[in-house]
């Protein structure tokens, strides 16, 4: 019983997808470069704020408090958006959200929309639904354009086309752009500047004629009805200001109580995400504005689609619900030794990396093989928890979900409390063993896992949660050594191993 449709075709279990990915040298090199670059920069950006821990605790508390009273804050939000001239729609699942958006677009008489990158609309497969209704949806973020032209899927939250290098991008632009609109110049080279210029011209043509825009949002403020979108390129501003009709599809967990609460997330999100003090552009708008759009600043119609799609089920799980705090910064991807080698596609959902491993099986249930194996896509090294700006204990949820996969138990699906049966013993075991082999076969990955583990030693629990609990009831867990054997060996031998 999977109920929740994440708009994705069937995917192979994580270990199989990952095995294929780790054999791809280009992918691994790109990923390594990306994750390490961002990781190092991020550490510097975070170190600049001496109150980082306090901001992190405050962000966690704001989100937990909001989730505790989510009904109240959503109603408050709805009232504020409506008062400011917007219209609020509620969508239980992907299908309903797609139906609402498709209907709204058709009602305008338009057959194309411009889109700013939105994980919620990817999650529900909106582009495919629009296409089925004869509406072309153009992704306007440069990376998303690359992904769309390549008939591909994003592989990273922040840099979705990180699996492509400049040569591939040039080839894609040359062959595909012409089919969608303004073609790329004949002699297009592979310099990032030239490529960006080609994208600018191609997309500008679309922005200037677009009459319907579709977006997500990073935050929604209950108190004022204000929507907040953070971005870098300006395509967000284009989609949010130029069209006559703006439709925003946003997960219900994105609401925060007050305008003031933004002071926390506007400090933690950019630093955790792109490692900048602030992202180049942030747009905030409240319905149609004080004059309700009469001064022509921005769209003259605004629709907000509030999306559940498995979120209330996730909320029903006291351990798993913390995943709803996620602000999609992608910091956990960049420190994950498994993600670094497997890449985003192996996770089989729009949410890759550690957050994907805990969010997707909760939104979709653990019935499909990919979802049953995702909780094993981790070394439990704890690095994701340490970087998370809202302190989501991803390892704790992973262990909790493993327990669910192996032992079954009560879960909430589509609002109904049910008891799921354990996955076939051998299925879970096989998944675990394959995931382990994936790492054991690759000394680099194992080494990274061990190092991080010894660094996170002080966070190590005394007792194992989940299936290991009975065992640790009577035994103390062995201490994690301060140094892994490999590191010790390397040091003793004075080899310059890195």
């Amino acid at each position: 019983m999977t109920g929740t449709d994440l708009g994705m075709p069937a995917f192979p279990p994580f270990p199989e997808a990952a095995r294929e990915a780790v054999g791809n040298e280009v992918l691994r090199a790109n990923l390594r470069h990306a994750t390490h670059t961002i990781r190092d920069k991020r550490a510097r950006a975070v170190a600049e704020l001496d109150d980082w821990d306090r901001l992190r605790a405050a962000g966690k508390a704001v989100k937990d408090h909001t989730l505790r009273h989510l009904d109240r804050y959503l109603l408050e939000l709805e009232a504020a958006v409506t008062a400011a001239g917007g219209t609020v729609h509620w969508a239980v699942d992907a299908e309903e959200a797609n139906r609402i958006v498709t209907g709204l677009v058709l009602a305008t008489g338009e057959r194309e929309v411009v889109k700013v990158k939105s994980m919620a609309t990817q999650e529900i497969g909106l582009n495919e639904a629009l296409e089925a209704a004869g509406i072309a949806a153009y992704e306007t973020d440069l990376a998303e354009l690359i992904v769309q032209l390549g008939h591909d899927r994003p592989s990273h939250i922040l840099v979705p086309a990180i699996h492509r290098n400049r040569g591939e991008i040039r080839d894609l632009f040359r062959t595909e752009m012409g089919r969608w609109g303004r073609p790329a110049p004949e002699d297009l080279g592979d310099d990032p500047r030239e490529l960006a210029e080609a994208a600018r011209l191609h997309l500008r043509e679309k922005f200037l004629r677009a009459r319907v825009g579709v977006s997500g949002a990073n935050f929604m403020v209950a108190e004022t009805g204000t929507m907040v979108v953070l971005e870098s390129e300006g395509n967000g501003r284009m989609c949010l200001t130029l069209p006559e009709t703006l439709i925003s599809v946003v997960g219900i967990e994105k609401v925060v109580p007050t305008f003031r609460d933004l002071e926390i997330f506007l400090q933690t999100l950019p630093r955790s995400s792109t490692a900048e003090r602030m992202n180049p552009y942030t747009t905030m708008w409240t319905g149609l504005g004080p004059s309700k759009g009469a001064d022509g600043d921005g769209p003259t119609a605004f629709h907000l689609v509030l999306l559940d799609n498995g979120r209330t089920d996730t909320l029903a799980d006291p351990t798993g619900r913390q995943a709803l705090r996620c602000i999609r910064c992608s910091a956990c991807l960049n420190v994950c030794p498994v993600y670094e080698r497997a890449g985003g596609h192996a996770y089989g959902s729009v949410y890759p990396g550690p957050i994907g491993a805990v969010l997707s099986p909760q939104l979709r249930g653990t019935a499909a093989p990919i979802d049953a194996t995702l909780p094993y896509a981790s070394t439990l090294c704890g690095a994701c928890y340490e970087v998370c700006p809202v302190a989501i204990d991803i390892p704790e949820i992973l262990v909790h979900l493993r327990e669910r996969v192996v032992q079954g138990g009560p879960v909430t699906r589509e609002g109904v409390r049910v008891r799921i049966r354990p996955a076939h013993g051998h299925t879970a075991e096989r998944a675990a063993m394959r995931a382990a082999r994936l790492l054991l076969d690759r000394p680099g990955a194992l080494r990274a896992g061990e190092r991080l583990l010894s660094r996170a030693r002080r966070l190590r629990p005394r007792r194992l949660p989940g299936p290991g609990r009975a065992w640790t009831d009577t035994r103390a867990l062995p201490d994690v050594p301060a140094e892994s054997f490999r590191d010790w060996w390397a040091r003793e031998r004075k080899s310059p191993q890195k």
Binding site: L67, L70, Y281
Partner: protein
């Protein structure tokens, strides 16, 4: 049952457990600065984001703006821009009207605006659609944005101080450097969509 009622009732059944107080012991400002130091920090951070920073006073402003805008034939001007700012500038002034189309605005090379405030710690300028800033679209479509910040009056230290002073019902645009992308092999490239050149003029109020 409507979808709204269904979602709300699911939430009511699911939400349980502790309700944490939000600890507000994080800092309102990071470090202490004199007004002059605050302006210097803003300038340093803007420069790091590859905006070009200029400093002048009321007397020098018209000449500086004339020079910055001299490469354009026409320049977009919000309705409430102080007229003396452009008293030395040559380009044709284009006024943004509700009837002007995006395609029309695309033919203009530059735009000049004031701002609502600027944030030193992050190197950010914030526009709120005030009379000297105009509609959101005019600072988006032209390739060159010149923004005048009155210092030290319009400069705050931090994000929390900025939010305190802003009106959430106005359309707000926070700008930290020119439009940028790092989507191709993580090489930073200016542009793609918004203005590729951002000049910030720090105007001393003597």
């Amino acid at each position: 049952m409507s979808s709204k009622d269904r979602i709300l009732s699911r939430i009511r059944r699911a939400a349980s457990g502790p309700d944490p107080e939000v600890p507000r012991d994080y800092l309102r400002v990071h470090g202490s600065r004199t007004p002059a130091e605050r302006v210097d920090l803003l300038a340093a951070h803007l420069t790091e984001y590859r905006a070009t920073v200029h400093r002048t006073d009321e007397d020098g402003l018209p000449m500086l703006l004339a020079w910055l805008l001299s490469r354009h034939e026409s320049v977009l001007v919000p309705p409430g821009l102080p007229p003396y700012w452009l008293s030395a500038a040559d380009p044709t002034r284009i006024h943004d009207r509700a009837a002007s189309t995006p395609a029309g605005l695309d033919r203009v090379g530059g735009v000049i605006t004031g701002c609502a405030l600027a944030v030193a710690e992050t190197g950010t300028i914030v526009l709120d659609g005030g009379p000297d800033q105009g509609r959101r679209r005019i600072t988006l479509i032209p390739d060159h944005h010149v923004c005048v910040v009155r210092v030290p009056g319009q400069v705050v230290d931090s994000v929390p101080q900025a939010l305190e002073r802003l009106d959430p019902t106005r359309p707000l645009t926070w700008i930290s450097g020119p439009s940028a992308t790092s989507d191709i092999e993580l090489d930073r490239v200016e542009g793609v969509h918004g203005p590729r050149v951002l000049d910030v003029v720090l105007l001393d109020a003597q």
